[in-house]
């Protein structure tokens, strides 16, 4: 097994400073955050430009070129509901350091994102969700099958579809947490890659609690076979946990300085 793939989540329109920088095409805050994430061990950077309906294509192109020229063709996850923006981003994307990730398809309105990934030899995150949150794992796995078949029909390799069980918030959906973990195990048993917005579990919790919850969940999820997550790499506790789990799983070879690399 390869190392756990950390996708840095901090370049997102949900952060006001980044939203402003995207709108104003101001490189500085974006590059600063990108560097922080890469220094902390992010492999991919998620570029979430939001719906970006008016100028999505132009913005995504700008962001991809900005990040890849500054950081040696860093691999990126293109994250927007604007399909044209994803296509535009991919048209200027350099894959020397890894295929682009399309974030994301689902089993309802966004299933054709898989077609887009297939046509562009990209990785696609496949959210096992239809309309509304799946009620149980039977439903999640049905979506998983639908998404897998769609991707394969379009000529994708199964390994390029990263299944997302949709991590749910503990405050309100505590009873669903083990379901999600079991779902990851099912993906893993099928030999599938998986990812997701893991820190959603700790949404609404006090700031000092979140790294603890996220670390505990990532360890449990990695035990179940999770192969990637979209997280904040600048959460030191979380990154230390991921690196330690990578050692215990044999994904990477131990050296005394393993936390520093």
């Amino acid at each position: 097994m390869g190392k756990f793939v950390v996708i840095g989540e901090r370049l997102s329109v949900t952060a006001p400073i980044i939203n402003k920088a995207f709108t104003e095409r101001d490189p500085e805050p974006i590059l600063k955050r990108a560097k922080q994430q890469l220094d902390a061990g992010a492999v991919y950077l998620d570029v979430n430009i939001g719906p970006a309906q008016s100028d999505g294509a132009d913005l995504m192109k700008w962001a991809v070129q900005l990040l890849q020229s500054e950081f040696d063709n860093v691999p990126l996850a293109l994250d927007t509901s604007n399909k044209a923006a994803i296509e535009a981003g991919m048209s200027v994307y350099n894959r020397a350091k890894g295929k682009p990730i399309i974030n994301s398809a689902d089993a309802a309105g966004r299933i054709e994102y898989l077609d887009l990934a297939a046509a562009n030899d990209a990785i696609c995150i496949a959210l096992c969700n239809g309309e509304g949150i799946a009620k149980d794992n039977d439903e999640r796995m049905m979506y998983c099958q639908t998404l897998l078949e769609r991707g394969l029909e379009q000529g994708m390799e199964a390994e390029d579809i990263w299944f997302d069980p949709l991590f749910l918030v503990v405050k309100g959906m505590q009873d669903k947490q083990m379901q999600i973990l079991e779902c990851i195990k099912m993906f893993s048993d099928m030999g599938l890659n998986s990812t997701g917005g893991l820190s959603n579990n700790s949404n609404g919790m006090p700031k000092h609690i979140r790294p603890i919850m996220d670390s505990a969940l990532v360890a449990m999820a990695m035990m179940q076979g999770l192969t990637s997550a979209i997280v904040n790499p600048n959460d030191l506790r979380l990154m230390e946990t991921i690196k330690s789990c990578d050692i215990l799983k044999g994904n990477t070879l131990y050296a005394d300085s393993y936390l520093e690399i």
């Binding site: 390869g2 994904n251 070879l253 131990y254 050296a255 300085s257």
Partner: protein, 312 residues
């Protein structure tokens, strides 16, 4: 159903590393496949073969090796002769006379030899320390200084002295060998530490340790296999340094090689035993991922060199 061969080409590759200067310079590493899997992807740099002499000259050589250096009166003479043997890619000078528990030669005396040898041959040079990590700090640092501009390999920085030896390599632009005694975690750790101390990962070679076949050798092989696997299949950048394996110093001291024919006649020719052991050990480490081996007997060198040429 048609058979589709799966390529064993990895997305990661071993770093390529140049030792020496000019026409004779050699490049180790660069491959993105398992050892000798040239059918999966081209192996640009075939493994290289070095020949070893020591500061102790003829006196330290086994009888069957001495013959090849007949007429040599100094280490420099031997170096010149060694450079002419068939299949030699580089020269390794082992400063074993510096061993404080042995001849304990002074650093000045040893450095004079290093200087003379470097002036006499244009082959890429590997300088191996004595058996004391402490003494090697000064010895290899001085060697790095006098070899300025030669892009030589200092063998080696160890856990105990990597700071000094690494700094010497860095300051004098030499290649640094990182030596771990068959300890895979330490092999990685030393590369990390050397890199953190400023040595360019492109200027590091690993000696992950060796043994003569039969002397804990399976552990050497499994360590080497796992290092290559981590470097290539896991893309572990801290292990993508080429591996150089000194074989001679392990082989020529075991009883199967040094026992005389009169003591154990049933073991047959002492000369053949030595060459056999050296060739067998070298072959095995090459097939486990060594990018270079250091041998002593000219016949072993010629044999291994031919083997490599036939396969790559």
């Amino acid at each position: 159903m048609p058979f589709t061969a799966k390529s064993g080409k990895f997305n990661a590759s071993i770093r390529s590393l140049t030792i020496g200067i000019g026409d004779k310079a050699i490049t180790l590493g660069g491959e993105c496949v398992l050892p000798f899997y040239s059918f999966d992807a081209a192996i640009e740099n075939a493994p290289k073969v070095g020949i070893e002499i020591t500061d102790c000259g003829m006196a330290a050589e086994p009888e069957s090796v001495q013959k090849y250096y007949e007429g040599c009166t100094s280490v420099t003479d031997m170096a010149k002769r060694a450079a002419e043997f068939d299949g030699v890619d580089f020269l390794s000078l082992r400063l074993e006379g510096g061993d404080p528990n042995g001849l304990n030669k002074s650093i000045e005396e040893l450095i004079r030899i290093v200087k003379d040898v470097a002036a006499a041959v244009d082959l890429p040079l590997v300088v191996c320390g004595c058996k004391s990590e402490k003494k090697d700090e000064e010895l290899l640092s001085k060697a790095a200084e006098v070899l300025n501009g030669k892009n030589a390999l200092l063998l080696a920085a160890k856990e105990e002295n990597y700071k000094t030896v690494g700094a010497a390599g860095l300051a004098c632009k030499q290649v640094v060998g990182a030596e771990s005694s068959v300890d895979i975690n330490l092999a990685k750790q030393l590369n990390v530490l050397l890199t953190q101390s400023g040595v360019d990962p492109q200027a590091i070679a690993m000696n992950i340790g060796s043994a003569a076949a039969g002397y804990g050798f399976e552990y050497v092989i499994s360590t080497m296999d796992r290092i290559k696997a981590a470097a290539l299949s896991q893309g572990d950048a801290a292990l993508q340094m080429p591996i150089i394996t000194p074989v001679a110093c392990e082989v020529w001291s075991v009883k199967e090689v040094i026992a005389s024919e009169s003591d154990i006649p049933e073991w047959g020719s002492a000369k053949e035993r030595g060459i056999d052991m050296e060739v067998e050990t070298a072959t095995a480490v090459l097939f486990s991922g060594s990018d270079a081996v250091i041998l002593k007997h000219p016949e072993s060198v010629a044999t291994i060199s031919k083997l490599i040429k036939e396969l790559v």
